[in-house]
């Protein structure tokens, strides 16, 4: 893991998100080490890696939850401020790995909260309730209902978020993130804990979001999901990006296979050659192995 070679496929001229040399250290632990990543307009980029590889930490660095120890994150050629609400204001929205809805608010209210950064009405106008306030509120509600329609939750607008089934909670989180009218959406394991049908539906949703002109960076363990969706996929192992590219590049990379399946035992005779066998192992095994590890997470 010493020499890091990156197979980057640059697709667009002016990237939407430009991450350069981001490093995150917690004391002696380097969770993310010198990661570069670009996301172009309307792209879907996957981010995979074994558990503890630093994917979520990387997300937190992008969204201002953590301030990276080194490196810069640029969005539309502007360096992002290290505050979550300012990052959202700038146009990056996210969902969370472990769903973080406002459990005791209704579905509609959750989405309305998502519109916070796109509305301005403060306390005074809320108390006065002038025509401007009412127009803005009605507008927000209409837009929120549109998003609920889009994600298929319109019928449950008045339900409490916590009473939704799991899959719909995931959808609501996406709707809430979309409410902030982002240019880039970061999805942290959107299909974790979903059954195959729900996962297919989530794929459709992600494509539909991309069709709205929103770029997507997605963390996933479900390889089929990733390779169906993503224009490019980056693999993060122990905080380092070891490879980035299309399906073939990633699937055939020895280091990816090693990271997921482990290295062959040195003591076994002829072990040095067995890597070749491993690398020719069925791709589905890799995918299944990863999917298993997801299940263990839950």
């Amino acid at each position: 893991m010493t020499d890091v070679t990156t197979t980057t496929v640059t697709s667009t001229a002016a990237p939407l998100l430009d991450v350069r040399g981001v490093t995150m250290r917690f004391g002696g632990l380097t969770a993310v080490n010198n990661v570069d990543l670009t996301v172009g307009e309307g792209e879907i980029i996957g981010l995979i890696g074994p558990n503890g590889a630093g994917k979520t930490t990387f997300f937190n660095c992008l969204t201002g939850l953590y301030v990276p120890t080194e490196g810069t994150v640029k969005y539309r050629d502007k360096v992002l401020p290290p505050k979550p609400h300012l990052v959202t204001q700038a146009g990056i929205a996210r969902t969370f790995q472990n769903i973080r809805l406002f459990a005791n608010m209704t579905v509609l209210e959750n989405v309305l909260v998502g519109r916070h950064s796109r509305t301005k009405e403060g306390l005074i106008s809320a108390l006065v309730r002038g025509p401007g306030y009412r127009r803005a509120e009605a507008d927000s509600r209409a837009k929120a209902m549109d998003l609920l329609e889009f994600t298929g939750l319109a019928g449950k607008a008045d339900h409490l978020a916590r009473n939704l089934p799991y899959g719909e909670q995931r959808k609501l989180e996406i709707a809430r993130a979309l409410a902030s009218e982002p240019g880039l959406l970061l999805l942290d394991e959107p299909t974790a804990g979903m059954n195959p049908q729900e996962t297919r539906a989530a794929e459709e949703l992600v494509f539909a979001i991309r069709d709205r002109g929103i770029a997507i960076l997605v963390i996933e363990h479900d390889m089929r999901f990733i390779f169906n969706l993503c224009d490019r996929t980056a693999v993060l192992v122990q905080g380092q990006k070891i490879v980035e590219g299309d399906r073939e590049t990633v699937q055939n990379d020895e280091r990816v296979i090693t990271a997921y399946l482990g290295e062959p035992l040195e003591s076994v005779p002829g072990a040095s050659d067995s890597t070749a066998d491993d690398s020719t192992a069925d791709d589905n095994d890799t995918a299944d192995g990863a999917a298993d590890s997801t299940e263990n997470d839950e």
Binding site: T88, R100, E121, L123, A126, L127, L160
Partner: protein
């Protein structure tokens, strides 16, 4: 429940065992008949004399007419009788028990039993022995037993509530009016109780009956009704509140009313901070103090160093609220960066700093501003549009005393605070507060500036408390540092305020109003308990939190949880009926 002491566990097992043995020990029709007969007997027994002498307050010596505590027995007996008739499936009364008859019947029977036996026990203990009870007293004690046994022997019949039939809005408004009127009656009766025993009996009767209606599902139904007719219900509640001083013939009760309103207003302000934004502020009463001291300083009191700078009340109110905002921001800016327990600890500290500071600004330890522990006395009465609130006025044949004047002023302030609370709470900024309460990290990821939003909540809460403080300074004539501490035996102090919010129901408007009324009246009426007051109070709080942790008035968000049950329910022909109002109406009071 795992940490319950062995004794308590044993008691629980025995109680559960007894209940299980009793349940079904008589056939259901017999049991029901026993309850009905017991209820009639109980009512009748209240018309006998219960004791020989007039030494026991309320004069229970008259046969043929109930008096004092006997009225409570009559009331609980009537409620029990109505509920029993409902259990006989009579056409209109049927709607009294949307979620089953047995549970409310048991509690109402307990209410009648507890009220009656409490009265008898009080007579026996106070006058020294059972010999003080007449035959009528013993009959009353026995008459309630068949009802209690019958209710316990009835089989459990809990069922999910059915959706109420749609009624015209005017009939709904009629119900709202009735609920509010009953609420006013209940509230007025509580305040008017002239001796401790009567208030205790009232609490027992009201407590058990409230539990019964909570169990019967009427409470939920009434709350939904009030929610549907919200503007009308609010108006009715304020009309009822405005009528309150007119129903009183002595100014002391109006004084109690003013103090309840002040306490309730401050509790509503705290509800923004605690209930909506989820910031545990344990030093909140300091803002009430800031408002009160500010108003006192500019009131023209000769003991104020600024007595030459007397300003009219409306200006004093604005200054008081403004100064409170300044203090709110000053205290909030450094502390709101903390979360959870840390914030609570730091706010206690700031509350104490206020208390100690005003004690030391006495001319020796610091500059002479607040006169230290002596406070600022002789605060003149407010004069609005040439109307001096300090003197009694005549309205037709009704005399409106000093405290009644202040009651009306405070009612306007409360109206403002309620409007501010509900408008702010139901807006973009209010949603941001609730989002922060639910999950601060997620809220910030949604573009909410956590610190600034929390500071807004803190400052608004402070402003509302400061506003109430300016009135309170004038009502009490003087301002001293003592009430503005973390905990004490009388409201308002931070602990009581927090208790009022939590007890009443966090995040609601009516919750803190009800919580504040209860928490003000209990120490006021039970003053004879003296040193045991806080102990009794603590026990009462623990019991309430054990049996209704979400507060007396549950948040509308909690009501939504019941919504799912109603959706697939069959329709019920009758709409809610009479006596349910009695306890529901507390919300309107």
């Amino acid at each position: 429940m795992t940490t319950t002491s062995p004794t308590l566990a044993l008691l629980r097992r025995q109680a559960a065992g007894t209940l299980a043995r009793l349940e079904g020990s008589a056939p259901a029709p017999v049991a029901r008949a026993l309850v009905a007969g017991g209820a009639v007997l109980t009512i009748a027994s209240a018309f006998l004399s219960w004791t020989w002498t007039a030494d026991f307050p309320g004069d229970l010596t008259v046969s043929g007419y109930p008096g004092g505590l006997q009225w409570l027995t009559v009331a609980t007996g009537l409620l029990l009788l109505l509920q029993t008739l409902a259990a006989y499936d009579l056409p209109v009364l049927r709607a009294l028990a949307p979620t089953g008859h047995t549970a409310p019947l048991r509690r109402l029977a307990l209410a009648a039993f507890a009220t009656t036996w409490f009265t008898l026990a009080a007579i026996a203990i106070e006058l020294g022995g059972l010999a003080n009870l007449t035959t009528g007293g013993f009959i009353a004690g026995l008459a309630v037993l068949p009802a209690l046994y019958g209710a316990l022997a009835l089989p459990a019949d809990h069922r999910p509530a059915k959706a109420p039939a749609a009624t015209s809005p005017w009939i709904e408004r009629l119900w709202v009016t009735l609920i509010t009127a009953a609420g006013l009656l209940l509230f007025t009766y509580g305040i008017d109780t002239s001796y401790g025993e009567l208030f205790e009996g009232y609490l027992i009767a009201a407590g058990f009956s409230a539990a019964a209606y909570l169990k019967s599902g009427l409470f939920e139904r009434g709350a939904a009704l009030l929610q549907r007719q919200r503007p009308f219900a609010m108006t009715a509640a304020f009309v009822a509140a405005a009528l309150f001083p007119l129903t009183q013939n002595n100014d002391h009760d109006a004084n109690v009313g003013v103090n309840i309103l002040i306490f309730a207003t401050v509790a509503l302000g705290l509800n923004i901070v605690v209930g909506l934004t989820g910031l545990l502020d344990l030093g909140y009463v300091a803002f009430l103090g800031v408002g009160a001291y500010t108003a006192a300083l500019v009131s023209g009191s000769p003991f104020s160093p600024f007595h030459n700078a007397q300003v009219p009340f409306w200006a004093a109110a604005l200054i008081g609220a403004g100064v409170s905002i300044v203090f709110g921001v000053l205290i909030g800016a450094p502390t709101l960066r903390l979360r959870g327990d840390y914030l609570a600890i730091v706010t206690i500290g700031f509350g104490e700093i206020f208390h100690i500071t005003v004690q030391n600004l006495d001319g020796t330890s610091g500059p002479k501003i607040t006169n230290g522990p002596n406070g600022i006395p002789q605060i003149p009465d407010i004069s609005i549009f040439g109307l001096n609130l300090g003197t009694a006025h005549q309205l037709g044949s009704i005399t409106i005393g000093r405290f009644a004047n202040y009651f009306f002023l405070m009612l306007i302030v409360t109206l403002i605070v309620v409007a501010v609370f509900s408008r702010a709470g139901n807006s973009r900024i209010g949603r941001a507060w609730i989002a922060i309460r639910e999950d601060e990290t997620a809220a910030e990821a949604m573009g909410i500036n956590g610190f600034r939003t929390k500071l807004t909540a803190f400052a608004l809460g402070a402003a509302l408390a400061g506003l109430a403080g300016t009135v309170s300074a004038h009502v009490t004539y003087n301002v001293v540092p003592d009430p503005y501490v973390f905990a004490g035996s009388t409201p308002p102090n931070s602990a009581f305020l927090l208790a009022a919010v939590v007890l009443g129901g966090m995040g609601t408007v009516s919750g803190p109003l009800l919580g504040a009324s209860l928490l003000y009246l209990i120490p006021e009426k039970l003053s004879f308990l003296q040193n045991y007051q806080l102990l009794a109070f603590g026990v009462a709080l623990i019991l309430l939190m054990r049996f209704r942790p979400e507060g007396i008035i549950a948040n509308r968000r909690r009501k939504l949880e019941f919504h799912a049950d109603d959706a697939d329910a069959v329709e019920i022909p009758e709409q809610g009926s009479g006596p349910d109002n009695v306890n529901l109406s507390k919300a309107g009071a």
